[in-house]
């Protein structure tokens, strides 16, 4: 096994193994880098760009970029925080996010990220307000893509862990969305026990387990208790 090395993250010395991503190395050192499409146990995909950092002056995705010896990495600088804010804002504008009536409120990573980044008001830009039908055909599971951020976590979980390929991207560009492998969810072999359906997998309120919404009182929800990133990883495994 090759030698461990160190690099600098916002001035702090971080130890990494060869091939390890900046994110993984930072996690191991207990330093949080914001993220949405990446989560423990799934292969990194590098699509949301919320984990953007500067490595030796070049912007890279921390979840996919391997760390390098002696690299100077910047993360919590005003410039990078600004990028992250813009990215997260765009996600709110692209979907239909009505947090006060969403059962993911309080455990939603997108909402928690918005708070972390200090976004508490809507912007002057228009909301796209897409009209996307809710798929409630399955007896235990609902897919409400109005809140989907296309992180692909469900796709990877279903493919790589459940071995099922229940979810997939369909369409391109602005029309890209998450679809299911069948006419509707009821038509797939998805099960409530799948990793893809686990409440930890979908970061938002898009994949819903039926009939359990709002069971956790305000004040006791995951991010009421500890803001995102406060355990060094962003979500308890």
């Amino acid at each position: 096994m090759a030698e461990k090395f160190t690099f600098s993250l916002d001035g702090q010395e971080i130890t990494a193994e060869p091939g390890q991503s900046i994110m993984k190395a930072a996690d191991a050192a207990g330093v949080y880098i914001p993220r949405l499409c990446d989560t423990e146990g799934l292969k990194p995909q590098g699509s949301c760009r919320v984990c953007v950092v500067k490595m030796n002056g070049r912007t890279v995705a921390a979840c996919t970029q391997p760390a390098r010896a002696d690299a100077i990495v910047e993360s919590e600088t005003p410039e990078i925080m600004g990028y992250r804010r813009d990215l997260v804002r765009m996600l709110f504008h692209e979907g239909n996010h009505l947090c006060p009536i969403c059962e993911a409120s309080g455990r939603c990573e997108l909402q928690a990220m918005a708070y972390r980044l200090g976004i508490t008001q809507s912007t002057k830009y228009p909301y796209l307000q897409p009209v996307r039908p809710v798929d409630a055909s399955h007896p235990d599971i609902v897919l409400d893509t109005n809140r989907c951020i296309l992180c692909g976590r469900c796709i990877r979980a279903s493919r790589d862990i459940d071995g099922k390929n229940v979810f997939e991207y369909v369409g391109r560009g602005v029309h890209k969305k998450v679809g299911v492998n069948g006419d509707s969810l009821a038509d797939t072999d998805v099960s409530i026990d799948d990793r893809a359906i686990n409440l930890e997998t979908c970061p938002v309120g898009c994949i819903i387990q039926k009939g359990r919404g709002f069971f956790t009182p305000i004040g006791e929800r995951q991010f009421d208790l500890a803001p995102i990133g406060s355990n060094g990883k962003g979500r308890k495994a």
Binding site: F92, H97, L98, C99, P100, I101, E103, S105, G106, Q111, A114, Y115, I119, T120, Q121, S122, Y127, Q129, P133, V134, A136, S137, V142, I208, K210, G211, R212, G213, F214, F215, T216, P217, I218, G219, E220, R221, F223, D224, L225, A226, P227
Partner: protein, 477 residues
């Protein structure tokens, strides 16, 4: 514990109302009718379609900025029916009741101290500039402070039971998601006795006002009508749950102990071209004689008694004023509202001493149904929520009859009376007339005032139309 915040995203936070009154004259420039136009939220009923039934109690709170808890609870009651929860656990039922009493208390107090107290303290003829909450604070700082503290107490009750002061999430289909912790209980217990004293004082102010100004109160926008509300099985006032009772102007029962799930057999809604808001009436009596009033005044008229001692005493005095016959005075709504505040605080106190609130059994489930109806006595009156939910758990039908809709015809008549007194023969809106229309609208406290409570002002536009339908005068407050 981290403070909970919510990101407010525009579309659903925009619901607010403003009032417009149009007065229609006949060929002789006499008032033919008056219409109160309310920008209503029928759009909501469409918005709900396709949503999941357990989201509904949370979504419907966005309907109204001032009594969201009533919608939360009425929808939860309807969804109890959907999940087959016919009897809730004592903890769930009592937590919801506590929340509801907190809500009625804070809403009625807000209305009384912020909106009506200027009318009551300064009289209608007084300087308009003074007749607002700031005038009250200036001349009666102590009273104003009590109003603020009482409202805050009601809000604390809501926060402890619903999870948040506004737009909580605790009532869920089949029960509640939290109980009342000892710490939450003890915090409320500290103030509750003081609240009872102040509620009595406020009730006395409203009572004395009514007595002292009886010649005016008994005439101003007073008219015979039917009255309807939920009552308990023994006829007691019950704001959270019960059966429907309707009485006529003479106090005779029209129907009684009606299971509210059958309300469609007893009530109908008439559509009029000029209004989004429908006109409900008692089927048996038809639209001409079947319209009714709801809310605090009606509840005082329908209830046989009140099951808390101080409020019951006040209720008896209220009934004595009209020798036991239904009270028909629009301005008596104020007194009725304060009797209810007293009742709510008494109820809150007794619930706080009830150990069921610390129980752990929060949820029940039964056989799934496709139709859910929930009815509650909201601060402004009876509130109906009716839904159908398909086998995929999605809402396929939604009809709400809100308190303001129930009072629709009555408010139009009340405004008509005021307009008639002021306008006969001269199609000009005078300042006193504008004032008095505001006073009468305010007595009914229609939801349109929600957007304006904070400032203690009601933006009201009044227009007069001649027999040809041309606007001959227009004034706004």
């Amino acid at each position: 514990m981290a403070k909970t915040r919510v990101i407010e995203i525009d579309p659903l936070t925009r619901v607010e109302g403003h009032g417009k009154v149009t007065i229609h004259l006949d060929e002789n420039n006499n008032v033919d009718e008056a219409r109160l136009h309310i920008v209503e939220f029928r759009g909501f009923e469409r918005f709900i379609l396709g949503r999941l039934y357990w989201e509904v109690p949370v979504i419907v709170q966005r309907l109204c900025g001032i009594c969201p808890v009533s919608h939360h609870l009425a929808a939860s009651k309807a969804m109890d029916m959907i999940v087959g929860a016919d009897t809730l656990t004592p903890t769930a039922e009592k937590m919801r009741r506590l929340m509801h009493y907190g809500q009625i208390m804070q809403s009625n107090v807000l209305h009384f101290f912020h909106l009506s107290s200027p009318d009551l303290l300064f009289g209608f003829g007084d300087d308009v500039g003074k007749r607002n909450i700031f005038g009250v604070i200036q001349e009666n700082p102590e009273l104003a402070m009590k109003g603020i503290r009482m409202r805050k107490f009601g809000q604390q009750v809501i926060e402890a039971t619903a999870g948040k002061r506004i737009h909580g999430t605790s009532a869920v289909p089949g029960g509640i998601n939290k109980n009342l912790s000892i710490a939450e209980r003890d915090k409320l217990l500290q103030d509750v006795d003081q609240m009872i004293v102040w509620a009595q004082e406020a009730e006395n102010i409203a009572r004395d006002y009514t007595h002292e100004h009886l010649p005016h109160v008994s005439k101003f926008a007073a008219f015979n009508s039917n009255h309807m509300s939920l009552v308990r099985g023994d006829g007691a006032l019950d704001l959270y749950h019960g059966r429907l009772r309707a009485i006529d102007a003479g106090g005779n029962i029209i129907f009684d102990q009606v299971d509210y799930r059958d309300f469609n057999d007893y009530l109908m809604e008439e559509v009029r071209s000029w209004s989004y808001m429908k006109f409900p009436f008692i089927k048996r009596r038809g639209p001409l004689d079947g319209w009714y009033r709801v809310g605090p005044l009606s509840r005082m008229n329908t209830a046989g008694f009140i099951d808390t001692p101080l409020a019951d005493e006040a209720h008896q005095a209220f009934r004595q004023l009209t020798n036991g016959l239904p009270n028909q005075m629009s301005l008596a709504y104020h007194w009725a509202r304060m009797i209810e505040v007293l009742h709510c605080v008494e109820k809150i106190k007794s619930l706080l001493h009830d150990q069921d609130l610390q129980g752990e059994e929060l949820l029940v489930r039964g056989e799934r149904r496709e139709e859910g109806i929930g009815v509650i006595e909201a601060p402004r009156g009876t509130l109906f929520h009716h839904y159908r939910v398909d086998e995929n758990d999605q809402v396929t039908f939604c009809n709400l009859i809100v308190s303001t809709t129930n009072n629709n015809e009555a408010m139009n008549r009340a405004i008509s009376r005021v307009a008639k007194e002021h306008l006969s023969g001269q199609p000009k809106i005078t300042e006193p007339m504008l004032n008095q229309i505001e006073v009468v609208v305010r007595a009914y406290d229609p939801c349109l005032s929600c957007a304006t409570h904070a400032l203690g002002q009601m933006p009201l536009v009044v227009e007069v139309y001649d027999a040809e339908g041309t606007v001959v005068d227009r004034k706004s407050s």
